[in-house]
């Protein structure tokens, strides 16, 4: 009798077993398969991908329009894949290790050398990307160790933005030298409103903003504790000491600086043309733009060159790479550059396109002048720029929060030399 009674449940359990084992095995297999499927994707013959950082709605839209026109012209499908700017490098590296690199990657100028150093990028000249009418400075910007890897569509740099109403009301001209800027800023500083705003944050933003002061003064990233760099940093310290620059500058990104300027908390700011779209959303804000002031009258204002560049990674398929080069040529054609520059308020890389652009937006021509003398951050140090950048961030933040510029920069130079 007992056997009879236990037999029922046991039999049921046996049926359950089969019912359970099969799905469980399937699930286990699926988990494994999903985990492995990241590797090795098959490329679609007629679909080309561009990896960029156009996560912003408007930028994504402009790029989509460009790619649509180029798709039509070349008879292929071009898709864009956008990731946040900080992830372009790591995403590309991951894709490289799984042999699924996109056909074109748009790198930031400061990152391209690092990727080029791995040997993963192709020589654009050899692939037939045109370099006609591109100024030497921008060609250098896209080159690493003499090879041209990156074609810029547009470039940008920093400039001095000023609030016309505030300056007019105080009857002050737009400053052109350090001394004038310091005096103007001091005069425009009132309770709750600062003369000038800039970003000295602990990231590439801050370093980017420090370079025009360092370079215009004759300083150099290879010698961080030289008197010229110390002087430039002391100038920043002076602005804080005067009270014309907020102490919070060490926490501000360039976007924060723009917010302060738009809110009327700053009469002038150092910033780039990528803020113009936002600035223009505030209709009652009348702003102007000028070159960043120089140490002494008559000197060149040397700003940093910025902007994305199109590179073609080695995907191991010559025919594909040739087509990618055609896509780059299309994206950097005069017509496309002007369109993109007008949308994004940046300056076309191509000289002819820049001339057309200047006529269309004369208010921004000082930006174009600034670009003419602008320098690439990585021209001298290549992939070594990152460690210099980190040391420099720490140094100017130390100096702005109390330490002497000299010892802060000395420490930074030591840090770079020791390789940490």
């Amino acid at each position: 009798m007992t056997a009879h009674i236990t037999a029922g449940p046991r039999q049921r359990r046996r049926r359950l077993d089969r019912r359970v084992i099969v799905p469980l095995t399937v699930v286990s297999a699926l988990v494994g398969a999903v985990a492995l499927s990241g590797c090795g994707q098959q490329r679609d013959e007629s679909v080309f991908t561009v990896l960029n950082s156009s996560t912003d709605d408007s930028y994504h839209g402009w790029d989509a329009a460009t790619l649509k026109r180029c798709s039509k012209q070349l008879g292929v499908t071009i898709e864009q894949q956008s990731v946040p700017a900080a992830q372009v490098m790591t995403k590309s590296l991951r894709m490289a290790s799984s042999k699924s690199l996109p056909d074109i990657i748009q790198f930031d100028g400061s990152e391209m050398p690092t990727f080029a150093e791995t040997g993963g990028l192709l020589d654009l000249k050899k692939l037939g990307v045109s370099t006609a009418d591109i100024p030497q400075g921008i060609l250098d910007y896209g080159s690493y160790k003499g090879t041209y890897y990156g074609a810029a569509r547009t470039v940008n740099t920093l400039a001095l933005f000023y609030n016309k109403d505030i300056l007019d009301k105080a009857g002050l001209p737009v400053p052109t030298t350090w001394a004038e800027m310091q005096a103007t800023a001091k005069q425009l500083t009132k309770k709750g409103s600062y003369g000038i705003a800039l970003s000295a944050g602990g990231a590439e933003d801050g370093v980017y903003q420090f370079t025009p002061f360092m370079w215009s003064n004759g300083g150099d990233e290879t010698d961080l504790d030289s008197p010229k760099v110390v002087e430039a940093l002391d100038y920043w310290k002076g602005l804080i000491k005067d009270g014309s620059l907020s102490k919070s500058t060490v926490n501000w990104t360039q976007a924060d600086v723009n917010d302060q300027f738009m809110a009327g908390n700053a009469a002038m700011m150092i910033n780039g043309p990528w803020q113009v779209e936002t600035l223009n959303t505030k209709k009652n804000l009348h702003w102007g733009i000028a070159q960043i002031p120089v140490p002494k009258a008559g000197e060149d204002s040397v700003g940093p060159l910025g902007g994305g560049m199109l590179t073609i990674p080695d995907v191991g398929d010559t025919a594909r790479e040739k087509t990618s080069a055609k896509i780059v040529n299309c994206m950097t054609s005069e017509q496309e550059e002007v369109t993109y520059a007008l949308n994004s308020w940046m300056i076309p890389a191509n000289e002819k396109a820049a001339a057309v652009w200047r006529k269309k937006v004369p208010s921004l021509s000082s930006l174009a002048d600034q670009v003419a003398t602008a320098r690439s951050r990585t021209a001298q140090l290549g992939s070594g720029w990152t460690s210099v950048s980190l040391a420099l961030q720490s140094a100017f933040q130390s100096a702005l929060t109390g330490q002497s510029s000299e010892s802060a920069l000395h420490h930074a130079q030591q840090r770079v030399e020791s390789g940490n």
Binding site: H4, S97, T118, K247, Q260, A263, L390, Q393, S418
Partner: protein, 322 residues
Amino acid sequence: MSSTAASAPAAASGASAPVAVPAAKSPKPGSLKRRRTLAQWGFIAPAVIFMLLFFGYPLVRNVVMSFQHYTPSTFFTGEAPFNGLDNWKNVFQDDLFGKALWQTILFTIGSLIGQFCIGLALAVFFNRRFPLNGVLRSLILLPWLVPMVVSGVVWRRILDQDTGVLNSFLGLFGAGDTPWLSSTGMALISVIMVNIWIGIPFNMVILYGGLQEVPKEMYEAASLDGASAWRQFRSITLPLLKPVITVVLVLGFMSTVKILDLVLALTDGGPADSTQTLGTLTYQNSFAQLDFGAGAVVGNILILISAVFAVFYLRANRNEGK
């Protein structure tokens, strides 16, 4: 009664036909057992595979990576030559590592003490019955629901030295110029304060749960004996809450020591590295410098520290089970 008595044999006889089958084939129980073991493994397998793939593999990989010269080129060539203890030496020789380690310790201890004390005080407070108790308690949970990065960004605005709400408020009392995030001396303290704010709900909820388990009669008995509120707290609440306290502190420790997102959103490790922790240092080494070997070293140190406390946690849990 009679109907059940009658139905029992009927059911038994009905079942007797299929039951005869396994009884006839004697080797069946063996295969049955095998099937059962198989089924048991089948249940465990997904979890084991998941753990191995998503925890085991990265863990082992990270340890191996810390002994390799792992650079961007590695992603193309797949070659990462072993370089012995070079990465470890480099990390230990870097001034920043010592600084980050010390700041991580301060951050962790400061956060834990703050979160725990305030969390416990609130838990005890809400353990009484009073109107709006539930509403207030759920309001205090809010910081927990907000993503860390969002809290970070909002607090960065609040703590801005010149335009922040906090300083404007303090300005009403004539003390509105505190450099919360813009001085090397204050920044770490401010980051700790924000983290305490974020951690209070977790501590409160768990401790509140623990308090509910403490029998109310004990307090009644104690007050009959004339014990003061403080005495009741010390001699009843704390001892009975001990297992819960251990769990809260150990879990809190493990989530605090590896802090990254909050610091990145608040200060980016600055000003002048004054808020760098081991978490941000790993991030900086791996994703800014692209020195994955050095990043792995710091990451391993963090894992090691957490592992030690995980053992404490398991022990505490085992003791509780007894």
